[in-house]
């Protein structure tokens, strides 16, 4: 890995020198801005009526030069009943050329499209996550490492790519979470790292359809020196995003979906509270599909800011896992009202197999 980093750094520096712009910043070029979201959620069901998550998530952006860019997001959240302050991401980017950007730090995941993109408050039409795509689901909400990304044109078609090396998931072995993963650790738990990537194709010339394929592999996910150190994890995802205007009903239709699967190595061994060892087949999968309709082409300002959305999701969990046993199916409908291009009110109703039927209301202000 050291050799790899050395060679990669050499390529990085070579390109910087070739373009002669690493140190060519003129005075006054360092530009800084803050944007972000503020969110508040209200939950109502038979057992709870409460304002829950109040989130404030400023994003700090520095354009140091035409080549160098830093982006960082902090999160101040109250979802656990106390104020939590966290670093969502801190990512340093070097724009090598038209088609290649190198980046390092803590960054939004490039596995699938939901958690790194469509989970954002003003992109998600619902106040909750699909089954299997939130906490306890498959995949990270943030990664730590380095990577490369870009867009390659082929005629009218675009191909978007992301490749990365990250600390990757840690296998959990405590009795309640045996076989699950901590995907977002700040440091690695052994001498291995995960690598992966996403390749997305935009086959239509107006970029309205995007189909993405993601892979991630880590050969060793257990803690160093433990029996589970060499338990591997392979993850795959397919995502789809499509939008179009339907002139006869003066509306915009959006369809989004994603399927995720992961396979944990068969050599995982866990210990029950009574001291006996056991194992189980651990290959969960999940999917969601969402459709929304907004009469955005109407002249009536009130009506064109209304959007209705429907979502269905399914989380297939390992039968014999301490946290598994039953699969989760969830269906939601939402009525949203757009206050601005990045601010909206959401009211949604959720019917979920492992929880009470719940009404959510959420306010999201982008700033």
């Amino acid at each position: 890995m050291k050799k790899l980093l050395l060679i990669f750094s050499a390529c990085f520096l070579y390109n910087a020198v070739i373009h002669g712009q690493l140190l060519s910043k003129e005075s006054g070029q360092n530009k800084f801005a803050i944007y972000g979201n503020a969110e508040a959620v209200y939950v109502s069901n038979k057992e709870q009526k409460s304002f829950t998550d109040i989130n404030f998530k400023p994003i700090f952006l520095w354009k140091i030069s035409d080549k160098l860019f830093v982006e960082a997001e902090t999160e101040i959240e109250t979802g656990d009943g106390v104020v939590n302050f966290g670093l969502e991401y801190a990512n340093m980017n070097y724009i090598v050329n038209q088609y290649l950007i190198l980046h390092a730090g803590r960054f939004l995941p490039k596995f699938g499209a939901y958690r790194g993109r469509f989970a954002e408050g003003f992109l998600n039409r619902f106040a909750s996550n699909p089954a299997g795509f939130g906490d306890g689901g498959i995949g990270a909400s943030v990664e730590t490492g380095f990577g490369a990304l870009g867009s390659l044109p082929f005629g009218d078609v675009k191909v978007l790519y992301d490749v990365y090396v990250v600390n990757g998931p840690h296998l959990l072995t405590d009795s309640a979470n045996q076989g699950q993963f901590d995907y977002e650790a700040y440091t690695s738990n052994n001498n291995d790292q995960a690598y992966g990537g996403r390749l997305a194709i935009l086959p239509l010339s107006n970029s309205s359809l995007e189909v993405g394929f993601s892979l991630q592999h880590k050969a060793k996910t257990g803690d160093l020196g433990t029996i589970d150190e060499k338990v591997s994890l392979d993850m795959q995802a397919v995502d789809l995003n499509y939008y179009t205007s339907i002139q006869p009903i003066k509306s915009t239709l959006r369809i989004i979906g994603e399927f995720r699967h992961q396979k944990v190595g068969n050599n995982a061994v866990y210990t029950k509270p009574d001291g006996t060892d056991f194992s189980f087949t651990n290959s969960p999968s999940c999917y969601y599909a969402m459709g929304s309709l907004r009469p955005s082409l109407l002249e009536n300002k009130f009506l064109r800011n209304i959007e209705v959305a429907v979502r269905s999701s399914y989380f297939k969990r390992p039968v014999n896992a301490p946290w598994g046993g039953s699969n989760i199916r969830s269906t939601e409908i939402a009525l949203d009202y757009w206050l601005n291009w990045n601010s909206l009110l959401k009211i949604s109703y959720q019917n979920r197999s492992d929880a009470l039927n719940t009404v959510y209301a959420q306010v999201v202000f982008g700033f």
Partner: protein, 90 residues
């Protein structure tokens, strides 16, 4: 694993350098798209397009670079988009 990873990175690095030196394979239709068209297509891919006039010229440069990274948009396309958005501030 490390060899395959290195191979992937090397291929991407080589391809992107080759394309940047020799010009890319963009159709005439794609190359002739205006900033307004690219703004509508690329922004609406994920979210409502922010209106021209939303930010100052300096901030459009910052937001544009942020979105170039977040949404894998090429530098050429993003420059056209930000030029279009800045034009509303004149």
């Amino acid at each position: 694993m490390k060899r395959s990873l290195f191979a992937i990175l090397l291929i991407i690095f080589t391809c992107s350098t080759f394309i940047s030196i020799n010009g890319c394979f963009v159709s005439k239709t794609a190359a002739s798209k205006s900033g307004a068209q690219l703004w509508a297509e690329n922004c609406n891919r994920c979210h409502n397009a922010p209106p021209p006039g939303e930010f100052s010229n300096a901030n459009w440069d910052i937001v544009g670079t942020h979105m170039q990274i977040r949404a894998n948009i090429s530098k050429t396309d993003m420059t056209k988009i930000t030029d279009f958005l800045k034009s509303a501030n004149r």
